[in-house]
Symmetry: D2
Subunit: 381 residues, 4 copies
């Protein structure tokens, strides 16, 4: 697909995700960790304006100078910004103004893309990947925020609990493997440099852990026994009184879960979702297995199906050998988050098509659950 | 005015206050203490439904049973309700549905009022006074929440900083006075019973403290010297780094304040607003005066102008002799708040016409500032 | 008793209270609200040094200049001081050094007292009353802090749960009464000025509420029903999961309470202790009665027994007419606490002999329970 | 050294560290993260009793059954224990009783050791390594807690700021290296299994970063510029207002630091201590270098001096291939902490002699600073 077509396609998809929202929903923000739909729509637009139009489009006129403050996300080097937990308070600009802002920037972007400058096209690709990341967040944030509404609201059906085909366990021998991105396409800086790692022999499951298996863990008292848990995981379970995955509820004798398409009965065969790293790890301990490392996952991934859940690995999010932070504000994209987070590999039902790849490194703090996070088991041989 | 006309008049006024809001603004809630406009519009409607239509209108059909949960405010005896800090998360029901709900309930109410049942008419009067209280909150809550928006938004002009006529000090002799409500009209239960109090001789100012006088306090270092402050007031000043009234800002050499009609330069002659009890009390100490008690205020009020600011008194909010809590949920209206709050007397620019009276007892925690709270001085003779 | 004898007697009593402590106990502090014994012993000494020896004893030499910082309690106008929650961290000066400090100051004080200066003698009386207040706190703070030790520790027997004689209800007629201190002896500034109040007719119980009556409240579900509680009291009950008075525990089928002399079975006839204002007030509501005001208590107190519990009143702690804050640091003694606290009248088993009187005004925040706080009922006639 | 001699030697060293403490100091605990000396002395003794005497010494009589509750540290599977932040509240048992407890257990241990049971001797070695870990904590915890005392207290001189010899940078080639413990002596389970890793070529400094170099970072505005910091590090700097290492203070024109032997002027040539991982990492970024990984450190360590500071690495604390958690309570020793912590390698001036080794893995959360933590730089070639 040509860059301008890609641009139109991905930009339109953000609006498509909002097709069943009412104006009121666009400002909804139920916690500091999630953002309102309007903010996602505006921030991704701001990204194109700030990093491409302002430096490269000579005649470009910034229509709303305050939007830099309003829709900057976390770029410390670009100055003050709206406090993260106050994004939902920005009832103005109106939703319609944000839609106008998107059109205005898109128009300017398409003109600039037509000029074919290589540096611009490379930044456009980055901006589109950035927008896709926010498309996934828009969906998961919305799920989280709508969940607080006692009137169960349906706004989209993304097939959250599809049931995958079954695959056998995969074995890999001890030795040197190469990991990291080495193609010619786009990748994020955290996937570089491609490098060698030495792995001991291991076995990894072809399947994600199902709701049925996870229910066994619950019923076996998994949430009541500290021996399965990290010390911090156990503290989290006790303080938050966690007894089940996020969005699960037990009522009238059956387990149900909340989806963006309403409340459903648990599909036993579907892969469990919305578990923290602590839960994933405790489940693995209870099973006498462990989580894979991100490199075990990467070298084995072609032998199994993936894509419906982000899969917790037992790897901390750290730089690859020779990793360099880019100069300027874009250098804040990935590197500064490389502490206290765990790597997730794969993709989920909320990830836009063609966005992920085998070397893709997603990352979250170990207690987060609002993404579609699942579990795959491994063991040393 | 007939009750049905009063009903229409007051109910319409709530909508009139929202005339310049956009749909997005109706869910805006910037802190736990304030509520979104939509919630005020729905909750006042729920009050008529819950306390009048359900018990008295035989054929009345509750259209939205979940609204009892969504729009109950604090009646512990009526069961579960939306957590106070999550009122802004209720993007559904839509604004238009709440308007429909108002119309539906108003229609049923007007039919019921027409039947002329005395108990109903008495409850209608309570419901209308309740609605007026929420009209004031709607205005002050909105001011607070919009204030967080970096784009200074104008939504109404209520003459926040009008300049009053000047009046002399008033003196009262030592002796027995009668306080509390003893007329035939409506009053809240906390104004009863009318009773005698013994007051020592005192003097009370005919004027509210002006912005100019308050600026002198600021410039004299009033916020830096603990001797003027209550111990808790001083802790509040230090922890919150308070240096000025709420909504004031100093920029480019001048003092400005934020109003619902935009940002303005300080009117030196206008009465200071948005100060806490701690600030009011520290100011009085600095002046070598004190705040009046609520009874001093009540017996002297006819000799001075009041109505633009709620006036902090040095009286704690406590029951009058013989005070009785009404049976049922309406008994939760006032009595259960009689601890840790201070009484304010008078009325403010945001108070609906004809709502207050000389015996009216408003009350807030000593650190609150988002109402139009001002200062009147007194002294013992 | 002569002032020097009084001085020796009261100063020695502070040491007497510590007779069964081990060195380790003197630094014990289990929360911000309580202080370690060593701190009480040093602070009361500092008070004599700071307010009497330094200004009046010409040849006096301050031996430890840092003690001003270490043992100042809350006098904001005297500069920096140890954070309240870090008093237990001052393992140095050693206990023996604090004992030496007491002796050193006592010696200088006795020499100064012998000179007979009237202003000094008046301040000595204040200092001794101050020391007695800290003697009560030393006992109650110690009880609170030792309670955390799983090895039930006994350090003194003060007869915490003595059973009083029974008295009938007392009635008073409507009319003008005089309250406040008007004798020639010592009183605190908050008991002044004596003044007239107008009271409606009322009835007040001759007895404190017993453990037996309080147990009925517990067994009747008093802690589970919001209608008896202030709104803030109910929030406190829910957040703190309060289900019984402080120091009570139910184990092996019986109710026990913790005393400074070990764990005991509940004496049903003894007056309930260690309840908050919220609990006292909820109990009264459940009984269909109310708490007395501090003035009702004062005008009726000569007709009933009191002295084993501080008695919660329904009066907020506020200044009397004409109350003046003294100049200088001693002006911080009482006035700055006159917000958000409730008045308690009487005395307790932990109050030193001859310390309290009928006009004495004790005060605490409504949620505090670690003093020996009890309940007396009243009602309007 | 024979095991019984080792036992006596190491047990005595714990007491030796306390030689200049007064009784009051033994209960000192200034934050949840640190423990009082008495607790360290008792807990290490409890460890021998719980894991060796009770299971292996047939005639052993547990003298104080409550000590299991009082001095258990974090073994969730052994039941309830004293809340970590309340260890300082245990004024009883007295210090002398804890000394008696040590003697009692030591006597029983020496008798058991004399029997020569292999499993026992192996657990004794674990218990002694455990005691040495607590010796280091006793020193660093004491430093932290005493630091709050405004009277600068000296209790020991451990040569905190000795100046090391200078060494050149060290280079290592790309290739396979073996890491982890493979000798016959004692090691912790987290050092196993020895395994191969593939490292890219790198260079590592022979010297620790000095106070002088760190001062340059401070003076160059290192604490004010977000580009050097992890996002969480920057949030920590802002919230805690961090501007210098722990224990540093700037007064009267010079930098000083607090040591257990009193306050000293900064030694410019001494290695910086008491910095967090965030500070270590920001310093490295500012220098255009990075921190080494734990494996780079391990393969290069023989070419440089180490031992005065624990050295932050850029490796998260994670299990080695084939790591197995031991069955029973001892399995809680290491594995459950393997999340959200960073590895430190080396040893410090507070580490007991012969305790550390090249494969030793220490670990702390990235914001902790109270250990003697320092910085060594590395870079990729």
């Amino acid at each position: 697909m040509r860059v301008d077509e890609q641009f139109k396609h991905i930009r339109n998809h953000s609006l498509f995700l909002c097709r069943d929202l009412i104006t009121e929903d666009f400002s909804l923000q139920a916690s500091e960790e999630v953002s309102p739909p309007k903010w996602h729509l505006a921030h991704t637009t701001w990204f194109f304006e700030q990093f491409i139009l302002i430096p490269f489009a000579e005649a470009y006129h910034v229509k709303h100078p305050q939007f830099n403050f309003l829709f900057n996300s976390y770029y410390n080097s670009l100055g003050e910004r709206t406090a993260r937990n106050q994004r939902g308070l920005m009832t103005r600009p109106a939703v319609s103004e944000v839609f106008d802002y998107r059109e205005y920037v898109d128009q300017a972007m398409l003109e600039l893309i037509a000029q074919g400058n290589e540096e611009v096209l490379s930044l456009v690709t980055l901006g589109l990947n950035h927008e896709q990341q926010h498309q996934e967040l828009l969906v998961t944030d919305l799920k989280f925020s709508l969940w607080f509404n006692p009137l169960t609201i349906s706004v989209m059906d993304i097939g959250e609990y599809i049931i995958p085909n079954s695959s056998p366990w995969v074995e890999k021998e001890e030795g040197i493997y190469e990991v990291g991105y080495k193609g010619n396409g786009f990748c994020f800086d955290n996937e570089l440099n491609a490098h060698k790692v030495y792995l001991n022999a291991f076995r990894i499951s072809g399947n994600l852990v199902s709701n049925e298996e996870y229910l066994e863990f619950i019923n076996a008292g998994g949430y009541e026994n500290p021996i399965y848990w990290h010390d911090e995981g156990w503290a989290w379970v006790q303080q938050q009184k966690v007894k089940k995955p996020l969005y699960w509820e037990y009522s009238e004798g059956t387990w149900k879960y909340y989806t963006l398409n309403g409340k459903k009965s648990i599909d036993l065969k579907a892969p469990v979702a919305h578990v923290s790293f602590y839960e994933a790890s405790a489940f693995a301990n209870w099973k006498g297995k462990r989580l894979p490392t991100e490199f075990e996952w990467e070298v084995a991934q072609q032998d199994f199906h993936w894509g419906s859940r982000w899969e917790w690995t037992n790897s901390a999010y750290l730089p690859y050998p020779g990793f360099k932070i880019a100069p300027g504000a874009l250098g804040e994209y990935n590197g500064k988050f490389m502490v206290n987070q765990m790597v997730l590999r794969g993709a989920s039902v909320a990830t836009p098509e063609h966005h992920s790849r085998p070397t893709y490194r997603n990352f979250f703090h170990p207690h987060f659950r609002w993404q579609f996070m699942g579990i795959r088991l491994a063991e040393s041989i």
